[in-house]
Symmetry: C2
DNA sequence: GTGAAAGCGCTAACAA
DNA sequence: TTGTTAGCGCTTTCAC
């Protein structure tokens, strides 16, 4: 009776020993060959590759990880919310990672401590080479688990005083300034702002940048025209309605994120207002869907690709060169304005 | 000089041996305990768990995989297209898998043979316990790689004659019949259909189901009113425009997927037509964004959660009970109509 | 340059 | 019930 005929159909899969035997070399030489070690002669290299091909050999990642300590596995933790920005970010991160021979483990945190603890555990058990923490929120103490075990991490908009931690700074300012200028150039004088929840660091930054941009454009801001929303579509709807009740209304609205802007689009539609003729709207993020709204949304792009690339780069530097003291530990991701169809000159200059 | 002070900060992480030492048992007992083996006495179990907690011990997945042959890793291959249905499906699959203690590896196939080969390799090297092939297209010969190595796979709308392969059948008919009946009840008599590319098996099925549903509702179909599109937003736009050029136009359009429907929404808006007053539109998929379109899209839901759940279940059955000859090998996922704002009675009954 | 041999941390067969 | 032990497939000294 065969030992484990059940798991694999054709008996045993070829292992490094089989390759070595076929190529008539030691397993060390096979290992060196597949790891591109320079100390293998061309002659043997060729024999080994030939055997590998012939046997259809694939190295076993788990065995490699076990002995080398490196898994080529990266974790990414995002918020478990309805904002499509996060799934899109994960996808970008994944693509970049895979292109570099890494796999990724995804965790949705939902900012619940127990869930987060499980996240960390999953990552730790699989021996990830690094974790990108893309929650943009208050960073939970669970991260200590990771840091404590010496796992490299990279955080968005949050600095951690640890040699294994890197930070990605987001420059919202550039994009927000461009947005305000765009509106000002169009002739808008009164611009409202639907802010994100003040509990979010990023939301506060965006709001401050908006105010600074208005000032820079020589436009005055009105307290009433800045409303705290919650970064959801519903929040956008209610934000619009609050603005709508005012007697003196802005002719354009900049939103702290795209979902809010999409809420405004919907609310305006319901109210019989035409965008951009009656009201200009600008979002922030540039989620994939921003292109498909009616009208297509003018928005401030926060490039998920740039963000993902920076996160990956930070992690890879740490993973592949852990002892370099002068490694880059801070990364900057910029924003830019994408003009589509939701902005136009105001009907009457205010 | 410490051996590998560089990788981990606090020397060596606790391993199964450390736990065994602390609990004063053998490593076998520790292994049995963490694997819930019934043959460990409560007394020892307790001691072991205590030691585990105290040492903050986490078992090493790679070591477990290496010896047990099971990785608790599942692969999923989807098409690399802009249709948001696929990322959403991946997310559902992921959630279910994680809830059951599995991790997933994602591959976007882009139906390029070389890319697909890499997909298969990634999965094979990481020793996945199964692969969900959610391409809905012609299934590439690369799958043989997987099948040949005895990896369980599950396919959508495609049967493979292999004991390790399962199939998920999609019942579009129910949803499409409901959609046609909904339109008929509203008073529509003339209904157009924007089909998917005929190269896709699923697109053809949907088209046939539409015809059958029309017949069942006692409505006649016109050749001109069925147009082959490509399941993209652009395709929807051009499909709408073709319909628009006709002298005798349908008062409602059913689309083979949501992206097409969203294209119709946009094209109608551009043409100055109001949806649903001037034209009713129905999609298929119920992507997340269908809720956010203007107006919110009435659509035929193809539940990604159901699909993901079936795929996971199929794989898990195979992975955890590989030798059961009478295992369920076929799964059925149904569709249903979700009525939102893009359908209404026609202005004038045709 | 190349090979022999010592594990990486764990599970499972076998012994007791 | 519990412990002892032989590997899982690979990388990496160390010796030649």
């Amino acid at each position: 009776m065969p030992r484990q005929s059940s798991r694999k159909s054709a008996g045993k899969l070829p292992d490094i020993r089989a390759v070595a035997a076929m190529a008539k070399v030691s397993i060390a030489t096979v290992s060196r060959t597949i790891n591109n070690s320079p100390l293998v002669s061309e002659r043997l290299k060729k024999r080994v590759w030939q055997a590998i091909k012939q046997l259809n050999y694939l190295p076993n990642t788990h065995a490699r990880t076990l002995v080398s300590g490196r898994s080529r596995l990266l974790g990414i933790i995002v918020e478990n919310i309805t904002n499509p920005f996060f799934p899109e970010l994960v996808q970008s991160f994944e693509e970049i990672a895979v292109a570099h021979g890494y796999e990724i483990l995804v965790s949705s945190s939902s900012s619940d401590a127990a869930v987060l603890a499980t996240c960390a555990r999953r990552m730790l058990e699989r021996k990830v080479d690094g974790v990108a923490v893309m929650t943009f929120g208050e960073e939970e103490p669970v991260l200590d688990q990771l840091v404590h075990r010496g796992v490299p991490i990279v955080l968005a908009e949050f600095k951690l005083d640890d040699p294994k931690a890197s930070t990605i700074l987001l420059d919202y300012s550039t994009g927000i300034h461009a947005a305000v200028r765009h509106l000002a150039d169009l002739g808008h004088r009164s611009i409202g702002f639907l802010a994100g929840p003040r509990s979010l660091h990023s939301a506060i930054t965006r709001e401050n940048d908006f105010r600074a941009a208005m000032q820079a454009a020589g436009l005055s801001t009105q307290k009433k025209w800045t409303i705290e929303c919650d970064h959801t579509l519903k929040g956008g709807v209610s934000g619009f309605e609050q603005l709508r009740r005012l007697t003196n209304r802005p002719s354009a609205i900049i939103c702290s994120n795209d979902m809010t802007a999409i809420g405004v689009l919907r609310a305006a539609y319901m109210a019989g207002l035409r965008v951009p003729e009656d009201l200009s709207v600008i979002g922030l993020d540039d989620v994939d869907f921003a292109e498909y709204t009616l009208p297509p949304l003018t928005t401030i792009r926060l490039s998920r690709v740039d963000l993902a690339r920076s996160a990956f780069e930070a992690l890879r530097l740490q993973a592949e060169d852990p002892d370099n003291p002068r490694m880059q530990r801070e990364f900057l991701v910029s924003t830019s304005l994408v003009v589509r169809g939701s902005t136009a000159p105001p009907k009457t200059k205010a």
